[in-house]
């Protein structure tokens, strides 16, 4: 059964009307996802036992007339960098092909406590490093809209699962655009919340000062509802924020007249013309809804990618040191000494992009280079964050493209790392500043390739971001 038209609310209404049971829905969702998977390779692992156990709990509550959790019975796909107890979690890496985590991520616990039904784990770039999903050790994901093209990355499987209608909701992770860019390429809604809004306990660490967990769904409303469940302080993650979580969905459905929206000049340079036209058309919709649109500047945007590829790789080189052949399932068979165990396990286990980033990160942190690279990048990061702080003195939200171009062809950029990195030019600054940002679909090119409108707001002001995106989505539907 294609879940494409279903929402959290419609499933809840159907369950309460006894149109189907949560178990029936889970079985149909699993069957459909398994049947469709050869077309996209969006899933790496299905979790029928876990899904049916969760669905059974929901059905028991319905039978007993008890109150249902906010995600009751909703089929959800999880990016395979988020650990699930007793369900294989590969991180898209050969190194973790057989890794069965002994615990659940906090986001997973919260989803299941809310009645969510986890149907499987989605494909992604290895350790979330990539912009096309071509760096997965288990083969690339194909874009459900255009199978010869990439779904974006690194959360390509999660975006594809929602676009394909095999899951109503999905979780992804975003370090440099890995939720928004695949959401835009696949024509779904994807949210990167404020840094610290969602606990990363159980998210496999890539770049700790930048990593986020966030939701995918067809609609802004469903993204907001999923964020509601996973957001909030968690003592298992010291970086999770104390700020109270407001009622996101209650803030939706209204108008946005009088809101000030900034268009950063730097986000409209080097943009493919069709993408630019669609973004301008979306901005016209915001104007019709009564927003006051202003030109703004984010002058340090051109330095974002260089900054990111120093900070992210430096942190990654440290975080990935743990895959050394001792604890995580894989050890080189040809290693005879301890040193060979480390070196051969890592050489055989990591893919090319992971090695490239480990090498770059190790280089920029190595003796004599720290000030020139890592410290320099942290200073430029301050300038990028300051750009946003100054912009938000003038406007309530910022709008622009998610990516300079729509989904590209498989293999098109795979041999040119710098060209691949440039596809993240408009998403990386939001991660560096730590502000909430999202992608909402805003039409398609003549070839039918989806384009995403990006909306960014102040720290912890997800409400304004959702209000703009929701008003736009209702007006454009």
């Amino acid at each position: 059964m294609n879940l494409g038209e279903r929402s959290i609310d419609s499933i809840r209404a159907d369950l309460l009307a006894r149109k189907y049971s949560a178990r029936e829905l889970a079985l149909e969702a699993l069957a459909y996802a398994q049947a469709e998977n050869p077309k996209t390779n969006a899933y790496l692992t299905f979790s029928p036992e876990r899904a049916l156990a969760a669905a059974l709990e929901v059905d028991k509550k319905i039978f007993a007339g008890e109150e249902l959790g906010p995600l009751a019975g909703v089929p959800i796909a999880i990016k395979d960098v988020i650990v699930t107890r007793d369900v294989r979690t590969t991180c898209g890496s050969k190194l973790l092909e057989h890794y069965i985590p002994p615990y659940d991520a906090t986001a997973i616990q919260r989803i299941e406590n809310a009645g969510g039904v986890i149907i499987g784990k989605t494909n992604c770039d290895e350790f979330a490093m990539g912009s096309s999903n071509e760096n997965s050790a288990f083969g690339p994901v194909r874009n459900p809209i255009a199978p010869d093209r990439v779904p974006g990355g690194s959360s390509g499987g999660s975006a594809a699962a929602v676009a394909q209608g095999t899951a109503v909701l999905a979780l992804g992770s975003d370090t440099g655009g890995s939720i928004r860019q695949p959401a835009s390429f696949c024509g779904v809604t994807g949210v990167t919340p404020t840094y610290g809004r969602v606990s990363r306990y159980g998210l496999t660490a890539f770049a700790s000062s930048l990593d986020h967990i966030g939701p995918f769904a067809k609609s802004v409303r469903d993204c907001a509802a999923l964020l509601q469940v996973i957001a909030g302080r968690d003592e298992m993650d010291a970086t999770s924020a104390f700020a109270p979580v407001p009622d996101y969905t209650a803030a939706l459905g209204g108008g946005i007249r009088g809101m000030k929206i900034g268009l950063p000049r730097e986000f409209f340079e080097n943009l493919e013309s069709e993408t630019g036209d669609l973004i301008h058309a979306a901005v016209d919709v915001l104007k019709k809804l009564g927003c006051e649109v202003r030109d703004i500047r984010l002058p340090h945007t051109p330095y974002a990618i260089a900054t990111y590829y120093i900070i992210a790789t430096a942190e990654a080189s440290s975080n990935l040191a743990r895959y050394d052949g001792v604890r995580y399932t894989t050890r080189s068979k040809s290693a005879r000494t301890l040193s060979e165990m480390y070196r051969l396990t890592r050489d055989e286990g990591f893919g090319a992009e992971c090695k490239r980033r480990i090498m770059l990160g190790t280089y920029v942190l190595s003796a004599g280079y720290y000030d020139a690279y890592y410290l320099k990048a942290q200073k430029v990061r301050s300038l990028i964050a300051r750009d946003y702080a100054e912009a938000f003195e003038q406007v309530d939200a910022i709008a622009g493209p998610v990516s300079p171009f729509p989904a590209f062809r498989l293999g098109e950029k795979v041999n040119d790392p710098v060209a691949m990195y440039l596809s993240d030019i408009f998403t990386i600054t939001g991660d560096l500043a730590g502000i909430p940002c999202m992608s909402v679909p805003c039409g398609a090119t003549r070839l039918g390739l989806p384009v995403g409108l990006q909306i960014l707001t102040r720290h912890f002001d997800e409400i304004s971001m959702f209000r703009v995106a929701d008003a736009y989505q209702r007006a454009s539907n």
Binding site: P102, I358, Q378, V418
Partner: protein
Amino acid sequence: MKLTEEQVRNVADLANLALTDAEIGRMRRDLEDILTYIEKLNELDTSGVEPMAQVLYPAGETATLREDRERPPLGVPAALKNAPAAGAGYFKVPKVIER
């Protein structure tokens, strides 16, 4: 930005990666391209700018300290379950000290 293969091998050593000769050549070219691109940051004068190591928001100095209380640990069998080699409650690795 130019790198020698020697430098690349040195970094691979630091990173505990046993790269093959073919990988070293490719890596040298890729790192040169990326480092050349990164030199862009030198256009900016950052003297007097504080480095940003983390996204920070207002909170009390001890806000992130949790209550010190006993909690059940993961347990040895669960912790060792994914080990490529284990025995007697420990991770096993190749012999480090020769007689």
